[in-house]
């Protein structure tokens, strides 16, 4: 047995709390256990850099850290940056009971929770256990830190056989190793064997991730629902459910559940980005604008932001500017310089420079279409066409926007082949086969005069082919007939927006134009009334 004081001599500890007295008192406590190396930080940013310098053995982190990241987000961030070493013990200190927080921590789970108030004795006994556990797992962690997963897996089996108290922990670690290796079948069988014993939320979550990766999104969705029923605050389950819905091309449900998740927990870049993309799909530009804005604000603390977030925000802003001349347009114009500045600072590359120049000259052209601005825009587009590297998806979106609104033949002929080429590389979310099936189903129901079912089918079809004016007409027609038949109007605002957008491109001489206008007017009157 190691002398208890000796045991802590080589242990390093990082303390993070925004409350100074508590920080100090924690420091005194751990020093009295024999710890020589103690660092203290007051905010997550400092802690990130301090940890990446020393890789402490134990992190004692308060959940509430004032502005910036909270204790759980810091843990996620350490994981995203691939900083967190195996064997580091992350202890989250909370003022409330852990259950309130833990459901947001299914993916990145602290090694222990400590509820305030606690005495030195409690802290000591918890740390003793963590240090003991680290000792038992040390060979496994070493193998993992050396990137030897196979060795780690067999060491897990060995440890489980020797020490039955760490059984579940070993299973859990094994499943995580398989997940990292993208071996979903093996990971799933471990999660299922745990679930057979007990319905633990993290195992359900793990199994759901595997099912989705294996293409069984329905099964994944069932598990997400189970987790969320047990705990309505389990935002990670909502996020995963959203991925399932997207996989199933059910964007309406994906959008709804993302909004719900955001209401519970808005400070996640991935979640806000998802919201922004879905809102853009449904032309809810204000929502998209605010979501991207939040992404860019959160970028200050996270490595998860990308150049595309900035470019997409420029596109959303420009679309708002084009569709509104009032306060919203003025508001978004103010965003441009900030976004340019951030791009220059964070992503200095030829592509990002080119994107900024294109956007600038496009906005100048929009302000004055008569003068020389058009020529400048043409020149910039030529340079984009000559750019040799693949373009970011958000850059391609911007090109589409320019093509659509710059009434210049030369620009269309320059950009069109480029956009087509780049778009072909992206996996399109438009599912034409599914859309056709639902459209067909809608037609059958329409002929049977089952207008409500028809409307539902057309809505799904349109969501899968958002630019198809025929489906939009079908949808509006079904809504109109349903109203005539039953005095019932069930078209949602979102469905209206989708239809409106799909029909916008119809030229006035198109034979469908007149019908589309009267149906749109009817729907608009119903929605506003």
């Amino acid at each position: 047995m190691v002398n208890p004081l000796q045991r802590y001599k080589s242990v390093s500890v990082l303390i993070l709390d925004d409350y100074s007295e508590f920080r100090l008192s924690l420091k005194q406590m751990v020093e009295s256990f024999g710890v020589n190396h103690v660092d203290v930080c007051t905010n997550a940013e400092d802690a990130l850099s301090c940890y990446s310098e020393h890789y402490h053995d134990i992190l004692l982190v308060d959940y509430n850290l004032g502005d910036g990241l909270n204790g759980l987000q810091l843990l996620a961030e350490l994981n995203h940056r691939n900083l967190l070493k195996y064997g580091t013990n992350y202890v989250l200190i909370t003022g409330e009971t852990a259950s309130d927080l833990v459901m947001g921590a299914l993916e990145y789970r602290p090694d222990d929770y400590l509820a305030k108030p606690f005495t030195k004795t409690t802290l000591k006994s918890r740390l003793d256990k963590l240090v003991e556990k680290s000792l038992a797992f040390k060979p496994i962690y070493t193998a993992l830190n050396q990137n030897k997963p196979k060795t780690a897996l067999s060491l897990c089996d060995q440890l489980m056989a020797e020490n039955k108290r760490v059984g579940i922990e070993c299973f859990r670690l094994k499943a995580e190793i398989y997940l990292k290796q993208l071996n979903y079948t093996q990971a799933l069988s471990i999660y299922n064997s745990i679930l057979h014993k007990r319905e633990l939320s993290w195992a359900q979550m793990g199994a759901a991730v595997c099912y989705l990766a294996l293409g069984e999104s329905h099964q994944a969705l069932e598990l997400c629902k189970l987790i969320a029923t047990k705990n309505p605050n389990a935002v990670e389950a909502y996020d995963l459910a959203c991925e399932c819905f997207v996989e199933q091309q059910d964007f309406e449900s994906a959008y709804a559940i993302t909004q719900k998740a955001i209401a519970h927990s808005p400070n996640s870049i991935v979640r806000q980005r998802q919201l922004a993309m879905l809102a853009t799909r449904y032309h809810e530009l204000e929502v998209a604008f605010n979501a991207y804005k939040r992404v860019l604000q959160l970028a200050k603390y996270s490595c998860l932001a990308q150049l595309d977030d900035y470019l997409n925000q420029l596109c959303v802003c420009t679309t708002i500017q084009l569709s509104d001349s009032g306060a919203s347009a003025r508001r978004v114009k103010k965003e441009y310089p900030n976004v340019y500045r951030s791009i220059n600072k964070l992503y200095p590359s030829i592509q990002s420079q080119l994107a900024i120049e294109l956007h600038q000259s496009f906005v100048e052209y929009l302000a004055d279409k008569t003068g020389k601005k058009g020529e400048k825009l043409i020149l910039t587009c030529d340079r984009v066409a000559e750019f040799p590297d693949p373009l970011n998806p958000a850059f391609v979106n911007m090109l589409e926007l320019v093509m659509k609104y710059a009434d210049i033949e030369r620009i269309s002929s320059t950009l069109d082949p480029l956009v087509t080429k780049e778009k072909a590389k992206l996996i399109s979310h438009d599912d034409h086969e599914k859309s056709e099936n639902f459209n067909h189903q809608g037609m059958v129901k329409y002929k049977e005069k089952a207008f409500e079912s028809a409307q539902g089918a057309f809505a799904t079809a349109l969501a899968n082919a958002p630019n198809n004016p025929n489906i939009a007409l079908n949808l509006l027609q079904a809504a109109y007939q349903l109203h005539k038949q039953q005095q019932k109007f069930t078209l949602t605002k979102r469905q209206f927006a989708l239809s409106f957008n799909a029909l916008k491109s119809l030229a006035p001489h198109d034979h469908r134009h007149k019908q589309s206008q009267s149906l749109l007017n009817f729907a608009k009157a119903k929605l506003s009334g």
């Binding site: 009971t97 852990a98 259950s99 409690t122 007990r198």
Partner: protein, 227 residues
Amino acid sequence: MEDNKIDFSVVLGASMHDMKNSLCMLLQSMETISQSIEHTPQAQSEFAKIHYEVARVNSNLLQILALYREHNAQLPLNIEEHFLDDVIDELLAKNEMYITNKNISVECEIEQDLSWFFDADLISNLLNDILINALKYTSDQILICAKLVDNSLVIEIHDNGDGYPESMLEKANNEMTSALLSQGRTGLGIYFANLIASAHINKDQKGYIKLANDGRFGGSRFTLILP
């Protein structure tokens, strides 16, 4: 406006966070003072009292929040595997000062390597509240047992005090309603214990508690059953 309505549980959470920081500091200061003064029996006993009262305040705070959450259907559980010896050790460590000072003998009967699935925070709070109560009313003996019976975890706390008053036994075992709250502090504790126990559900079976005056030393017996 509806949007501006404050979520009371957030307010409660925030002020609890602050109050708990205070309690933490209080405990810390006491430990520091305790190290720097001469330990007369009287000082010892005063320290034990402060510890005991801090534990009670904390326990109350937790219960209020948990009750409020339950009322609003937002009491989430964090079910994990826990080893009973760990849980009970921590429970005793928390109350060590009071136990030593009052010369109470505490025995434990826990099956070796016994583990079970539950929310450790909520169950520790529950047991702590029951133990605090037992410490207060016992003459000098307490027994804590943990075992598996019919695929459920059974935890018992026995003492050798006068036992629960008749009126409470009746209310606790039959109606288990807010009527218990009229029984004062202990009533609230029992109400809370039942709430936490019944929130633990496994395969359609709910957890529950039992109160009786048939303890092994002739006093009260509190039983918690978790499926």
